[in-house]
Symmetry: C2
Amino acid sequence: MISPLLTDLYQLTMAFGYWKLRIHEREAVFHLIFRNQPFKGHYSVAAGLQTVVEFLEHWHFSESDLAYLRGLNAPNGNPLFTPDFLDYLATLRFSCDIDAIPEGTLVFPQEPLLRVRGPLLQCQLMESTLLNIINFQTLIATKASRVCEAAMGDSVLEFGLRRAQGPDGALSASRAAYIGGVTATSNVLAGKQFGIPVSGTHAHSWVTVFSDEKTAFSAYASVMPDNCVLLVDTYSTIQGVKNAIAIGKALHEKGHKLLGIRLDSGDMATLSQTARKLLDEAGLIETKIIASNNLDEESIKQLKKDGAAISVWGVGTHLVAAFDTPALDGVYKLSALRDEHGQWEYKIKLSEQMLKVSNPGIHQVRRFMQDGVPLRDVIYDVDHGMSSDAPHVDLLQPVFRQGQRVMLPESIHAMRERTLREVNLFKKSPHEKKYPVELESQLSQIKQNVIGDVLKKNKSEFS
Amino acid sequence: MISPLLTDLYQLTMAFGYWKLRIHEREAVFHLIFRNQPFKGHYSVAAGLQTVVEFLEHWHFSESDLAYLRGLNAPNGNPLFTPDFLDYLATLRFSCDIDAIPEGTLVFPQEPLLRVRGPLLQCQLMESTLLNIINFQTLIATKASRVCEAAMGDSVLEFGLRRAQGPDGALSASRAAYIGGVTATSNVLAGKQFGIPVSGTHAHSWVTVFSDEKTAFSAYASVMPDNCVLLVDTYSTIQGVKNAIAIGKALHEKGHKLLGIRLDSGDMATLSQTARKLLDEAGLIETKIIASNNLDEESIKQLKKDGAAISVWGVGTHLVAAFDTPALDGVYKLSALRDEHGQWEYKIKLSEQMLKVSNPGIHQVRRFMQDGVPLRDVIYDVDHGMSSDAPHVDLLQPVFRQGQRVMLPESIHAMRERTLREVNLFKKSPHEKKYPVELESQLSQIKQNVIGDVLKKNKSEFS
């Protein structure tokens, strides 16, 4: 369970302000969007929603949370919060409406992945946690999808635990990587928590425990005859392959199989070709060659190009640390707030960069398609609607209504299948390299009006 | 509590193998080292030990862990583990000796940050978890120290929650960033869990809630007069500064202070200079200027160079995602194992890259110093010892003996002080840019002998 204290302090000081000014229950709408595709890619894979749902289903300030807040002081030593505000937090229960794009859906910049509608104070308090969960899982699902695409249907195993950002960084990464398309994880706890297949055999340390590699391989095969993948590069790769072949033949004679050998260093294109030849000559045609060693989508593509005889890819560091774009730039912006008369006021944040000017309103994303192939997305305002005859789906689906979960549970396997299906359809899109996301024309006009209004009210020289 | 299942599956399959072969209780020695300084830097800051201690103090397979393992199958459908092995795991209690370099100490490639000595099976099972914890926290403490150095004594606030790797990625990052030298975090749960100061005031959303910026600032000052930092760039920065000044004067008249203004976009060197001038002219000379917006050590250095009038730095994404080196390359290698007669056998892993050939033996790191300034480090074998008259300290300190904690608790503030002190001393080192880490001569000779022996036993063409 994630505590509601997993938030930035300013969310709590603002919440206090809203409460003090008695505007904390005004109905507000916030959207969570990202602004740029990570990895210089053409799509992202939505992920993290189930984690958000679990967080919100248990969203409640405990006695110990409130005791901690009671002890916080302003720089001059005065208490930061008043006791009556903390009493209010103690009674607070999550009561918002949330709509979200299902995990495994392909998503694009400016599209709301989540829409949160409810009392201003609640919407504000959950901002940091939602961003933390959605930014990271979407980032990793996207990276995983790119790696799986490079592997062209080969199995990809996620090995990132030791290089991930702490225990839960690793768990979140394993979950998101599976949604993005990997076949299995090495992380046993992720397997247990999320029902993801787990995979693993032995490391270099197993080999160094024994007096020599042959003895080590033989010992491993004797204790794990049904799960035998031998790591062949502890001392010298080709000698290692030969030692593994001897074991493979012995296993075969006893009715077992050498499932694979693993290469973890050196020129893996050449080494894998030589290894394949040696394995085939020995009749071990079913023994797979697995590669690991700082792999990412680019090195996998290059190895494929160089004719590497590799059919399983172990990917760790570059996947879980999202090496080339280590953070998704998701933000969460207020876009509508009821005034004291109950009328919606549409809201924006300005910026000198047009990309950073937020969109006002209450949004839905409509995806137009032909034979399942996505053609373009349009962001529209739900109160103004959008008329369209062409085949489409609306991407945001109800998740919570007044704090009650309405979204049906979905298995992580179904999410992964969605990713694989959508990536394949997306490749047929005429706009694969630059997928169009438009603001619906009424919403676009509304945005211009709101910008004009804000500029007038703030008498600013902004243009 | 971190479950012992937070490990790679191959650790469990190897553990099963050791147990099956009855070598699981042989005494082994493993070292955790890293190979390259991250961020093209000259030092790293050790961090994560306390998290490791808490993990190991509660290291125990629960009934539900064992039930999960019972259900795991090999690819052919046979159970991966036997019931008697799982019964053994159920009885297992942590009983190793651990020595480690205290958190906040400056460390260098090839030096063991941890030495683990105990039954082979236990040492093996904890590998992935120790790497996960130490790699990430050391990485972030190092990045934080670099950012603080760039800030030249100014306060640095860690704002990274929304861009960190999941909930615990954020918590671990906040902890490590504080050890590395930051002043406070925005992450309230990190504040509660680790006793780190927390900091925060308001975001753009606060400003957009109100009809205009002046009203928003005035509302914030009315509810939080003792914790008032105004974010001035929602619509137009200079106009925002003027609005903030009006509020600052009003606060002052009521006996409060405008603590600061925050800039979050635009040309922050010029904007901060203009803002400083306007604040000073208004008599608000104590009001600080805080900057945030994708800052890192390089942009802070540049802003300092450009004469920015900024004295507090909010650093988020680039710090917690360690943008330019998103993973530390720590590894964990077997270096000694008792044979069936109880004699130590020294162990290595070979590699074509000399840097990746591990060091055999049971290690300690000796740091030679003059007036507290570090001169060079020497890795030596504790059984062979090292004679040296020059002033020195041995860095690895006892943490556990036979599974019992012997290390005294240390506050996170003391760890942070150690970092700040050591960084200052290190700057006086004659070898600051290329700090020497040597293998003691006897150990170096042992390493050559072990390499020769391994090559002979494996009849390899390796050279």
